[in-house]
Point group: C2
């Protein structure tokens, strides 16, 4: 029914002549490229705002579009539980259900099930878990997670993986990574057996694990490369390891990834983390940090970090971030935003979220410009210093 | 400092040749007019969305402007406690503080202090109360409530009144009303003694009390008329009395109001209440109902009332209210809005609030058109039936 609705333009199935990923330039390890999907092109490096349940928290689609959001992330675990695959199929997939017509990437839910700890049971077949909503029992397998993501109709989707706990011994990490590899093979096989539901291509990414052990990370990533995924992700980071271990792990992972496949670092991180990972050759990012921190009153601005609840902003009649053009026209003052937080107003969450998402999108957009100009590294260093410091 | 900010255009002080209120037409008891303020014209009848703490809950200024909000209401009690008069003065008043550049009406806080019950103590001088935020003691007097509203710089402001408890005996209601009258005289006197802070006129409204006793209501309103207020309000309704008593009280109140002064029914109510009160000669309305009900998932639409959480909307691929042009372009479906409520997403509160505010603004805007056409009564009857029924 939905395909006929005038509210829901159906994208073309894409031009088969365009490869999924094209690189336009490199600057040291950093890369600039474009992903081609049925719902639009995605310039890389790119930050993907997190819309776990099919909505970026406290933002509407128009604001996302105005900030030039190219792609959002949604979560298979959450959407499987609610609204469920039956609703998703009936509505013609998440694009039509949500009327978000730009690209969507779905995480597989592996990380969320991993976070349930007490409520899950791993086996070769898959992972059994209890819903955090109502305690009901469910089984995720590599195959049915592909199926759920077919129902969602995301442009890019992730395989089911086991996010290795941290810390893990080498043996534990190896055992876990090998399970992830067997699941990855099953995921590829299932994806190749089935057609997409809604007439446009869905691209499948593998996820590398191996904790902080370079040999495991490399072995894992080489296996994934051989499986022929459309893109490759680095999972299992920002789970408690030292920053240096995280960067080293990114480095060993990207070093064995082919240049012609997009590279996605999952769930990371601060503006500094993102710029340093770009320098290590990563193309795609998601993180709850900008949206979650916004709701706690922590703002990222081009002039540094701000705790908007601080009394020093009480009568600050200045705009929130004059360094971001897209924001300035909204014209709210720091003092008013502080009042909104003090008073517990939803508008405070809305404005702070817009600021942080705008900042993250500006970050990857500008990184791309600098890569194409060949000035990425000095810009990144200066930007890290400026953004990560407390705002004066 | 703020007067010089390019973000904050300072309005002209108004054209002295324009009277505050002009009537353009009547249709039975219903009136169509225009209020002239320094921050813009307000066509009447008008609904004023409630922004208690200086922000309409879950809406940004742009959405309010797009829905053609002409004036918002804020509350003296809340703004006095937070951010406080010192911040308000430093920021140049609520318009500059919030960057809401259209008209603002402030309630005096009488109703809020009345709601504190256990925390307040009435005297001839004023009302002593404890803050609901931190338990600190404060005294509101007619004079200092004028002062706080000077600091806020609202275009229209209300006197301090005692909202008579319901039920009340005739004697209790009379005693309370007489106190309100003495306070009203003090309020007028203070307002005439002082200049406004920010260079534009502030219009002062009196508030009628008298519970559901026609003789007290008429006596009270006649006194207020004699005091020469810029406008007249009917207070102390929708506090538990029968609907018929409410309408009868509105009727006896408007019957003694002069035709050339605007009439404001405070805190009322449903679309039916509003249309019936317009027929009884009321011009201005505020109520938390559209915004509060929205956050509970109750939508007002031109096709009837909706509980968006109901399972019947689970796969409803239809727009939320095709009867409202301004809304249709947002293109969200009922099914997605239901999902957002089920999932506890802030976006659900945002979209539902926009719908209900749009509906209430459409209601008074259309009422005005029908009054000017001379077709108000049949339209109002049909509209009440349509809006108040559950949506099919």
């Amino acid at each position: 029914m939905t395909a006929k609705s005038p509210l829901h333009p159906v994208p073309s199935a894409g031009n088969d002549a365009s490869p999924f990923f094209v690189r336009h330039g490199v600057d040291g390890g950093a890369r600039a490229g474009t992903l081609h999907t049925a719902h639009g092109e995605i310039p890389t490096p790119i930050f993907m705002p997190v819309g776990t349940q099919g909505a970026v928290k406290a933002m509407d689609h128009r604001s996302l579009t105005e900030l030039d959001t190219k792609i959002i992330l949604a979560n298979t675990y959450h959407l499987y539980l609610r609204p469920g695959n039956d609703v998703m199929r009936a509505m013609g997939g998440l694009h039509q259900f949500s009327t978000w017509n730009r690209p969507i990437l779905t995480d597989s839910g592996g990380f969320q099930v991993f976070s349930l700890r007490e409520l899950r049971k791993m086996s070769e077949e898959g992972v059994e878990f209890r819903s955090h909503l109502d305690g009901s029992r469910h089984l995720f397998t590599p195959e049915n997670v592909v199926e759920t993501q077919r129902a969602i109709g995301s442009d890019i989707f992730m395989v089911l993986d086991e996010c290795t706990a941290f810390p893990a011994t080498h043996r534990e990490a190896q055992t876990s990574m090998e399970l992830t590899m067997r699941w990855a093979e099953r995921s590829v096989r299932r994806h190749r057996e089935v057609d997409t539901y809604y007439g446009f291509p869905q691209f499948q990414f593998g996820i590398g694990q191996g904790s902080v052990y370079p040999d495991l990370r490399q072995q894992c990533m080489r296996n994934l490369v051989d499986m022929g995924f459309d893109g490759l992700a680095i999972g299992g980071l920002a789970v408690g390891e030292a920053a240096d271990d995280m960067y080293a792990t990114i480095d060993v992972s990207t070093s064995v990834m082919p240049a012609d496949k997009p590279r996605y670092l999952m769930g990371v991180g601060t503006p500094e983390n993102i710029l340093r990972a770009i320098e290590l050759g990563v193309d795609m990012f998601d993180c709850v940090m900008p949206t979650r921190n916004a709701r706690n009153g922590t703002l990222f601005t081009t002039r540094g970090r701000v705790n908007i609840k601080n009394a020093r902003w009480k009568t600050a009649d200045e705009s929130i971030d004059p360094g971001l053009d897209v924001w300035a026209d909204r014209n709210y003052s720091m003092a008013y935003l502080r009042h909104l937080f003090q008073a517990g107003e939803i508008l405070g969450l809305m404005l702070a979220t817009q600021q942080n998402v705008a900042l993250y999108l500006w970050l990857t957009r500008t990184a791309r410009e600098k890569i194409l100009e060949g000035t990425f590294r000095p810009w990144a260093r200066e930007t890290i210093d400026r953004l990560m410091a407390p705002r004066e």
